[in-house]
């Protein structure tokens, strides 16, 4: 165990030593405001109600001396989801119109920092505002995938709720587990035969035998049988793979077959003198990302295209970022293909960039200002290989050639080794909620 920990720590150190500039992934950012600010916030607040939003804004922006802009702050707010609508899963998956989709999928983001570095030394305040939405166009494959998963889940649920409803009265009747079993067995068998007609006689008998053996050790007590009933029903659900069906459907909903178009816009408001009376809008970004996930023989494959357009205020950058060249317009366009093979995944990205700007070049004889148009183009290609070492640990390696950075145009090779850890969520005890929610 110690050796494993040492290796993991060594890899983390190795990554930090070799770390290069962060790569901008080829997709619409989850939080456009954070992205346009170049912020990697430690946490993004996602209030689910207007009260929570008010509390988040008040506690972060109001200080002893009035309004202050917090450092490393990011917030994402989706108004539609602040209220309950009683949507069925079908209503949720298949919105009736594009307008309805826009209502549901639109979210607003805010990000702030006090550490926007100007001229490599001066920290300044900046706020970014963003909006993001998504449109999904389901196809026949998606309908089939949803229907087949839902059908399996429904069969599982009918069995569990049906058996639960039938055996509950016996669980609260005086007697032993054997009495309970004698009354319950035929109901369980009956539901299995109706909902799972493909089970053979032998498989059904084995199911019942295993359940009986397990049930004997569940502490049957007819005077207080909630715990027994929960364990007994869970045992049935487990044997019918209820958790697996749930996980598969949940996973599918996050990554459906068909076409998805993500659209986002964000702008940056800079306060270079840290004075609210003086602000500049130096940068705006627009992302449009269509993504298509294939089915059948190619269901491991997802293809994304991206169009990102950025506007820069060149006067601002010339004034506050000396010795760097910024174009007034940047257009990134590219394609990405992602292949998932169980624990292993590969992503290939190809992005082109076209930049242009008009630069003052003196005046003519009538003293009218003259400009010359400059343009540039660049190309980035990256291959990323990821492997899930365990459910919590992911190892990735990226190799390729990036756009020329503005600060060091010779440094374009990418070779990034990454190790991502996922730790368990805090428990109710950690959060001090036991007194409110129980153990």
């Amino acid at each position: 165990m110690k050796a494993k920990i040492t290796i993991l720590i060594s890899l983390m150190v190795l990554q930090s030593v070799c770390a290069q500039e962060k790569l901008t992934p080829l997709k619409t950012p989850t939080s456009p405001a954070s992205s346009v600010l170049g912020l990697q916030p430690t946490a993004v607040l996602t209030p689910k109600s207007y009260d929570a939003l008010e509390a988040a804004v008040y506690s972060n922006f109001i200080g002893d001396n009035g309004i202050n802009v917090p450092d490393d702050f990011a917030l994402e707010f989706a108004p539609y989801w602040t209220k309950d609508h009683g949507l069925t899963v079908y209503d949720y998956l298949y919105a009736k119109s594009v307008g309805e989709q826009l209502k549901r999928n639109t979210s607003f983001s805010v990000a702030t920092t006090q550490s926007l570095v100007l001229n490599d030394s001066v920290n300044s305040t900046a706020i970014a505002l963003g909006i993001r939405t998504s449109l999904y166009f389901p196809n026949k494959s998606d309908r089939q995938a949803v229907d087949s998963r839902l059908k399996e889940l429904r069969a599982n649920q009918r069995t569990v709720s049906g058996i639960g409803a039938q055996v509950t009265p016996f669980a609260f009747t005086d007697g032993s587990f054997e009495d309970f079993w004698a009354h319950s067995k035929m109901h369980i068998e009956s539901f299995l035969r109706i909902e799972y007609p493909n089970l053979t006689e032998q498989e059904t008998n084995q199911f019942l035998k295993d359940l009986f053996e397990k049930g004997k050790g569940m502490g049957y007590d007819s005077t207080n049988n909630d715990a027994f009933l929960a364990a007994f029903i869970n045992s049935i659900d487990e044997k019918l793979n209820g958790d697996q069906l749930f996980t598969e459907f949940e996973g599918y909903i996050k990554n459906r077959y068909g076409l998805t178009v993500d659209i986002a816009y964000a702008n940056l408001i800079s306060f270079p003198t840290n004075d609210f009376e003086f602000s500049i809008l130096p940068k705006q970004s627009l992302w449009i990302t269509p993504a298509y996930r294939f089915k059948d023989g190619f269901d491991f494959l997802k293809v994304l295209a991206v169009l990102r357009y950025e506007w820069y205020d060149t006067d601002y950058y010339a004034g506050y970022f000396e010795n760097t060249q910024f174009y007034s317009n940047n257009l990134d366009y590219g394609l990405s293909a992602i292949g998932d093979f169980n624990k292993f995944s590969v992503q290939l990205e190809l992005i082109g960039r076209s930049s242009s700007a008009e630069i003052p070049s003196g005046t003519d004889v009538q003293n009218n200002p003259l400009f010359r148009k400059v343009s540039d183009s660049d190309f980035q290609y990256i291959a990323t290989f990821s492997y899930n070492l365990t459910e919590q640990i992911n190892l990735s390696y990226s190799l390729g050639n990036r756009f020329e950075p503005v600060t060091n145009d010779q440094n374009t090779i990418i070779s990034l080794l990454g190790l991502n850890f996922g730790f368990g969520a805090p428990s109710k005890k950690d959060l001090g909620l036991v007194q409110y929610l129980g153990d």
């Binding site: 309950d84 009683g86 949507l87 069925t88 899963v89 639960g164 009265p169």
Partner: protein, 119 residues
């Protein structure tokens, strides 16, 4: 292990000749539910099943006296935007139980209601 939310002391007052309708209403979004109502005097194959939301007639009140009527729901919620599961159970339009739990506590709750129909 999935958590069982057990509500065993529910009582509803209904006159003998009144037809009783049991309803399930989705309050929070994206729930998938199967609810079976075990009516003591009916054989299991005639017990109503409500998928997601809806109503079922469970007979006249005088036929529901005595043993408790058992309602058992298997609920799941798999949409990422929702953090709460909330379901309302009603008898003849009147709320009998509002079940609510955070998904962080249980994303696949089992809900048990034992309802006595009294005069």
């Amino acid at each position: 292990m999935r958590k069982l939310y057990s509500y065993k002391d529910l009582a509803v007052s209904v006159a003998d000749e009144t037809e009783v309708t049991f309803s399930v209403e989705l309050v929070s979004d994206g729930n998938i539910i199967s609810t079976t109502i075990n009516i003591p005097k009916l054989p299991p194959e005639e017990d109503p099943v409500i998928e997601d939301a809806g109503s079922a007639s469970i007979g006249k009140a005088k036929d529901l006296r005595g043993d408790a009527t058992v309602v058992f729901s298997d609920i799941i919620n798999l949409i990422p935007q929702e953090d709460t599961i909330e379901i309302h159970y009603k008898v003849n339009g009147e709320l009998v139980l509002a079940h609510k739990n955070l998904k962080s506590e249980e994303v696949r709750p089992l809900v048990l209601l034992l309802i006595k129909f009294v005069e």
